[in-house]
């Protein structure tokens, strides 16, 4: 098969492929930088937990209004923010650390979600919520995903500096009276927003894949937050394009295909990454003599 047929034609021939592609690119724009900050804040698994926490909200929205984009998104958003806020409050008010309190709440949330879906919906519905269907993304979802990406980039630009300082030297921000908590909360809201955006396309289970895998891979290639973010976005783009093509040509489900391509790039980065990859450590280049 010629390169045109392999790489270009699927997108030109089918509008659902084009929409899926645009959704992937928009998702990568928002999720890339958010993932980078999650990695740097050592909250990589928090994205995973939050993506599960969204489930009961989305399920409730689905039950009340069927396959309504807005109902499911709003439900997911409310459930995600509730879990994030409760976990934050409990970790500050008790001896539990944030990861433990988050684990508690997201598991409760997930169980409620599964309960709702299995009691009221069919297995097909559950599969849809869990795994999403990027090939069924319609214009309304596209607008939602693109809006969330836009909001994410604007808000991140506004709170970029304090987020970095809070991560690098939390005592300093407090010493100069910077008020770290407000930025932390704004950031958590962005995480939940992006997961809601991702679950439209990839489902609650896979949404976090486009967030964490490109960010973790980027960490092995760059040494500044903005370069990390750009690389994470680029890896997200590549995963979206390649994942959709693989899914098209081999007739595979698109969500896992996209996430697996991102995972492949992560594995390659682990081995050959220029900043602390395995190759660098086990096959060091000769050191300078100057």
């Amino acid at each position: 098969m010629d390169p045109y047929g392999l790489l270009i034609e699927p997108f030109l021939a089918y509008s659902f492929m084009r929409r899926a592609l645009v959704a992937c690119l928009a998702l990568s724009l928002g999720c890339g930088p958010i993932g980078v900050f999650l990695v740097l804040r050592r909250m990589s698994l928090m994205g995973d937990a939050m993506s599960h926490a969204i489930l009961p909200g989305a399920a409730l929205g689905f039950l009340l209004a069927g396959f309504s984009l807005w109902a499911m998104s709003a439900g997911g958003l409310v459930a995600g923010l509730t879990v994030a806020v409760l976990a934050g409050v409990v970790s500050r008010a008790t001896t539990l650390k944030e990861d433990a309190s988050l684990a508690g709440f997201y598991l409760i949330s997930l169980a409620i979600g599964v309960l709702i879906v299995s009691k009221k919906g069919s297995n097909v519905d559950l599969l849809h919520v869990l795994f999403g269907t990027i090939l069924a993304v319609d214009n309304a979802s596209l607008i939602l995903v693109a809006s969330i990406a836009t909001i994410t980039l604007i808000v991140l630009a506004l709170i970029y500096r304090p987020l970095i300082v809070e991560c690098f030297d939390p005592g300093f921000l407090r010493a100069v009276g910077g008020g770290g908590s407000a930025y932390h909360i704004a950031f958590l809201v962005l995480v939940v927003l992006n997961l809601v955006s991702g679950f439209q396309a990839l489902g609650t289970l896979m949404a976090v894949g486009l967030m964490m895998l490109p960010a973790a891979a980027a960490r092995l290639w760059a040494t500044e937050v903005w370069t990390l973010s750009l690389i994470a976005i680029a890896i997200g783009f590549a995963s979206g394009i390649a994942g959709l093509l693989v899914s098209y040509h081999f007739n595979l489900p698109s969500g896992p295909a996209i996430v697996l391509i991102a995972g492949l790039q992560y594995l390659v980065s682990v081995f050959v990454g220029s900043r602390g990859g395995l190759m660098k450590q086990y096959f060091p280049q000769p050191h300078y003599h100057n």
Binding site: L40, F168, G171, F172
Partner: protein, 295 residues
């Protein structure tokens, strides 16, 4: 129970993680007389006499009700150069963090003679910093301009020159683009000193500035301290090297949770006082161990 104590009890278990913004907002310029027990800090209307001074009245700071600083009274004079000395877990870092406003007093009060928070510079222990974070030297030093530049402002040509100057003074010229993660402990300490230089603060608090730093770096950084002292800034440093304190610091505060002695260094660091501090430290290190109290 009065209001202040109530506050303190509620907040004691989550020290350092409390919402600093909420309780600090609006404190600036609040009259000294209205400050309550339990307030973090009062910015009194500054008179000439008080500018750069730090007054401490009956200060107690506790972790889980276990006091790390217990009933401390005294005053850091404007332009003084004071070393805080004491055994591990004596509350030295806790005292600094409380002055900075990172921790809250459980009892008593600290009044800092400054008009804005910008005028306090704070050097944390290196363990409190994520040294693997991807940030370069220049950006780290530029953080010193936080109060001028803020969350979204640009760095002016004038401020650039100040950063460049700070890098030159600390011997970091040409290292601006290096990631902090690739530096040695001594170089990171130089970076943090450069940040303080850029901040140009009236009061400078240093938490173990020479820990794990080699002799040459210590000498270079001590020179900067001496220069700050000559510029009549108020400087407080937590230190462990008694000889270094005797050689360079005119004033000392010896604490072991309880204040042991405070005044001219030669009257404070006597064998008798040091022995008393050690004896006091056995009470908490032998009796029952609290992992939280060593901060």
């Amino acid at each position: 129970m009065d209001n202040g104590n109530h506050h303190a009890q509620q907040l004691a278990p989550f020290h350092g993680r409390t919402d600093e913004a909420s309780h600090r907002g609006g404190r600036v310029g609040r009259p000294l007389a209205r400050g309550r027990v339990g307030d973090t800090m009062n910015f009194a209307p500054v008179t000439r006499h008080d500018e750069g001074a730090i007054s401490i009245e009956d200060l107690t700071v506790a972790y889980d009700r276990e006091p790390a600083v217990h009933h401390l009274n005294g005053r850091f004079e404007p332009g003084s150069l004071t070393a805080i000395v004491g055994p591990n877990g004596a509350g030295k870092s806790t005292l600094l963090k409380t002055i900075v406003g990172v921790l809250r007093p459980d009892d008593g009060r600290i009044s800092v003679g400054i008009n804005s928070r910008r005028q306090i510079g704070y050097l944390p222990q290196q363990a409190d910093i994520d040294r693997t974070f991807p940030i370069n030297v220049w950006d780290t030093v530029a953080l010193g301009l936080w109060k001028e530049v803020g969350v979204f402002g640009a760095v002016s040509a004038d401020q650039r020159a100040r950063i460049q100057q700070a890098l030159a003074t600390t011997g970091l010229e040409g290292l601006g683009n290096r990631p902090v993660g690739t530096l040695s402990v001594g170089q990171v300490q130089r970076v943090l000193f450069a940040r303080l230089l850029a901040q140009d603060a009236k009061i400078i608090l240093l938490d173990e500035p020479f820990a794990a730093v080699d002799e040459r770096t210590t000498a270079d950084l001590m020179n900067i301290l001496t220069r700050w002292h000559a510029e009549s800034r108020t400087i407080i440093a937590v230190l462990h090297d008694i000889e270094q304190v005797r050689a360079n610091f005119p004033t000392s505060l010896l604490i072991a949770r309880e204040p042991v002695a405070w005044g001219p260094t030669d009257t404070v660091l006597t064998g008798e006082n040091l022995a008393r501090a050690r004896a006091l430290s056995h009470v908490w290190s032998d009796g029952h161990f609290h992992s939280h109290t060593t901060h």
